[in-house]
Amino acid sequence: MEFIKTEIRSGAYYDSVVLMHLQRSLLELPGVLDSGVVMGTDANKEVLEQSALLVDEIKSAGADDLIIVVKGADEAQTTSAISRVDELIAARRGGGIEQDYRAKTLDTAAKMNPAAQWVLVSVPGRYAAGVAREALGLNKNVFLYSDNVSLEDELSLKKEAAEKGLLVMGPDCGTAIVNGVGLGFANKVRRGAIGMVAASGTGLQQVTLRIHQMGGGITHAIGTGGRDLSEAVNAATLRQALDALNRDENTKVIVLLSKPPSPKVAADIIGAARKASKPVIVNFIGYAASMRQVDNVTFAATFDETAQLAIQAEQNPQAETQELNLARFAEGQRYLRGLFSGGTLAYEAQLILRDYLPAVYSNAPLDKALSLPDPLVSQENSIVDLGEDVFTVGRLHPMMDNDLRIRRLEKEARDPETAVILLDVVLGYGSHPNPASELAPAIAKARAAAQEAGRYLEVVALVAGTDEDPQNMDEQIRLLKEAGAIVEVSNDVAARRVGRLTQALTRRGVNPTAATNPPVALQTLNQPLAAINVGLESFFEALTAQGAEVVHVDWKPAAGGNEKMMDILARMKSKK
């Protein structure tokens, strides 16, 4: 037995597609064998007739009438079905989850999120380099989470990035914090003034979270990927990131962190860190630093210590950084001449200067190869111990007799290659009763002579004494300063001061290799983070939760992973 129930609604207009959908919904109800929901046009009535649904009750319906017909096997079910029409229409209107468009390609995602500076790549390794390359092609920085990226790919990606002033974090970079937003795996860490570059994912997390626990905060924590400090990669990313953090005004302290690095690269990076204008805390696991601190660089052995030192450095900013002002020096001026009366002070100065200068000659060298052939004649950078026997035969020790030093001072000052003269002024019982009264006029004269010759002569005097010494230390310092000398009271500080200056003069005019590449734009780090995520959806969700502007790419391997076609596509693209 079949039952047909009908309903006619006059003046109700629905789009035919809505009606077709309603009809399908009716068909899904229990006991419904067939249904028709149409406007009562002649054509539609003909269609109903073909399906044997055009019963008499609805034949009179006109083009503006909505016809609803339900055929069922059971009267109750048929009646129930037709009574649910409004409910079914309303259910459609209720909407539901509307999904935003998911980009299928990086190109489209870039158009959808033009502000994106970063592309997060977490696709399978063999496709990752291709995606990263595409991102660089769009002038985006890359967070390359994927591992199993070949060394050649890493080298070529980082080379391209450096040439464009872009960063490639990774491959195998698990974590980073950019402008307060965690990429990949990252802890929620307070914003602050400590910037970090790390070739160690868990290290980065551990140090950033300890900084947070200790009350400090992070500007940016940039990952480099575990291989960055290998000899082959030569810290390509770390160098860029260090330079960027050094320029970043919000970053007051920089932390460098790495798994055991290549010793050669590590030494080179420490050199670069010392050129930074900010305190740098270095924790290169397994790297044996010869001392705990060099200039602005402090070495830490553990993550905790790294965090502590970083916070301390932030809280106690170093005294004003040295103003080198290289422009004052004439073109040929580049050497240091040290004229010491104290033998061990001369030794220590040479030791400290090793951090700055490749070779310092001396009549009392730490290394025989750096012996001055003639103690009376300085060459290049020289530290002369005027208390050595050769100088004291038949005369008083220079601590008591300034004559020899003054003559040597005049001689060094005349040398157009001399830029800095370092000398010690040792006070105390037994020493000259008023050394400054003789040395200060000599210094003033030497500087004046240099100036007349178109040069600038820096004189640094180490005053070794106490305020209770008989010479009146304050007065000695005053006299020396008046003569234009810079006065230090620590041999270490004095040696480093001249070391930095001489090093800078030596490098003057020599273009560092990296300078040919544009620097990483600071907006990359300091604009509100906007990104494109290719790969793991959880990264997209995490970024969204952190309020970043992110577009996710529903990524699939190009050409469905067909390698032949992928190769052809790559060839076509390279021809562009």
Binding site: V17, V18, D34, V37, V47, S51, M565, I568, K575, K576
Partner: protein, 414 residues
């Protein structure tokens, strides 16, 4: 050779085309290469043996209309003996919806591209239900065909001439802003078309009774403008063909058995693969089991940057794919992934008037695995029944891979 430049040229030519509906004529008089022993059909070349039900029905109906056969057996004999030849509409600058069968005596629209001078053609739309283009060929179908061709067309032809021609690009652009996408939904376009021609029909008709019938016929049929729209799309798309090095698709068409495609830089070769069955909604009493394979030249709309590609302009029909209005937006957004550019004149209001995705690039299809979205009517698989639903279909991916490899070989990328 620069692929990007070649594609720029291809879509620039397509977009700058200005197709005008300038008149109508009898196929044998106006279509180049049309002859009395020829039937044109939709899609790539087909034989009787491989033809689908609706295609066979439409061929039969056309031969009955021409007075050459009485039934399907006679039609089959004529075609199989070679006395009647079958050729794709696309070989004659023509397009036809669904089976697309156009016979020598039928009237066709004439569209002229004012920019490039090429002329294209399409037959007259019969409306919904049991119609020739869906393979129905019964007596009432014949009657309607005769009225459309013998009675309406001569008047309509005169009316179009009196109107001075209709700018189809402008009409399509406006219809897109009124909820049409130009393929499955042509309601607004058909109203505009009717409104623009009605005064001239009134002038051209021998009596007011016939004028009223014609105007009513055009106005009642929400697809009356489909055929001129398709001819206009053909006029635009064919100017993008034969650009050396271009990877842009210049033809997509289906004959119910095969999906066929031509690529600008690959000459007149058809790339084909078996058609899929559309997914969609069905009229009462029908289901997917009754559906014919995908059929018709109407994919020329997607080729030219409208139809499924302009889905975002027609949210009312997104339910064809049982979706939400946002799915309409997403459908269009997806097509930007595989197209070379954005249309200058066809724009999408909900996407901030962004141009429709225009110029399918076979490289992008192969790279992304995304095939074009096609909105389509669904024919019954048996001859003589007609339309049973409407929905969405995508061309077979293999066809794009084959064309891609052919391109790579021709241009030395393989």
């Amino acid at each position: 050779m620069d692929i990007e430049k070649a594609n720029d040229t291809a879509i620039e030519r397509m977009m700058e085309s200005r197709p005008m509906l300038i008149g109508m004529g009898v196929a044998r008089d106006v279509i180049p290469g049309m002859s009395d022993d020829l039937l044109m059909h939709a899609g790539p070349p087909i034989t009787w043996a491989r033809a689908s039900g609706p295609m066979r029905g439409a061929i039969t109906g056309a031969l009955i209309y021409e007075g050459k056969a009485k039934d399907m057996a006679e039609a089959q004999a004529l075609v199989e003996s070679g006395k009647i030849k079958l050729e794709p509409c696309h070989h004659h600058h023509a397009v036809g919806p669904m089976a697309g069968v156009t016979s020598p005596s039928m009237w066709v629209y004439i569209v002229e591209n004012k920019t490039h001078g090429n002329r294209t053609f399409s037959n007259v739309n019969e409306g919904y239900g049991k119609v020739l283009r869906y393979g129905a060929y019964s007596e009432d179908v014949q009657e309607r065909l005769h009225w459309l061709n013998d009675t309406m067309a001569p008047v309509l032809a005169k009316a179009i001439e009196l109107s001075g021609g209709l700018d189809m690009r402008a009409l399509i652009a406006e219809a897109l802003h009124m909820g049409d996408e130009g393929h499955n939904r042509n309601k607004a376009g058909s109203f505009m078309y009717t409104a623009k021609l009605a005064p001239y029909v009134a002038q051209a008709a021998p009596n007011s009774e016939l004028a009223a019938q014609i105007i009513k016929s055009l106005g009642d049929n929400a697809l009356s403008v489909l055929n001129p729209v398709m001819a206009a799309c053909k006029a635009m798309a064919e100017t993008a063909h034969d650009i050396e090095g271009s990877t842009i698709v210049s033809v997509m068409a289906r004959n119910g058995t095969d999906f066929g495609m031509r690529v600008s830089g690959l000459g007149d070769r058809w790339f084909t693969a078996p058609v899929a069955t559309p997914q969609g909604l069905y009229f009462p009493g029908f289901s997917e089991a009754d559906a014919s394979g995908d059929i018709g030249d109407s994919t020329i709309t997607e080729t030219a940057g409208i139809g499924g590609f302009a889905m975002a302009t027609a949210p009312a029909i997104v339910t064809f794919v049982s979706g939400k209005p946002k799915d309409a937006i997403n459908a269009t957004l997806e097509m930007y992934e595989i197209t070379h550019g954005e249309h200058k004149y066809f724009t999408v209001p909900p996407l901030d008037f962004r141009g429709t995705p225009t110029g399918i690039d076979i490289r992008k299809v192969v790279e992304t695995g995304i095939t074009p979205r096609v909105n389509t009517g669904i024919a019954h698989k048996d001859a003589g029944v007609g339309q049973i639903g409407a929905g969405l279909v995508r061309p077979p991916f293999e066809m794009f891979q084959e064309a891609f490899m052919a391109y790579a070989e021709k241009y030395g990328f393989a």
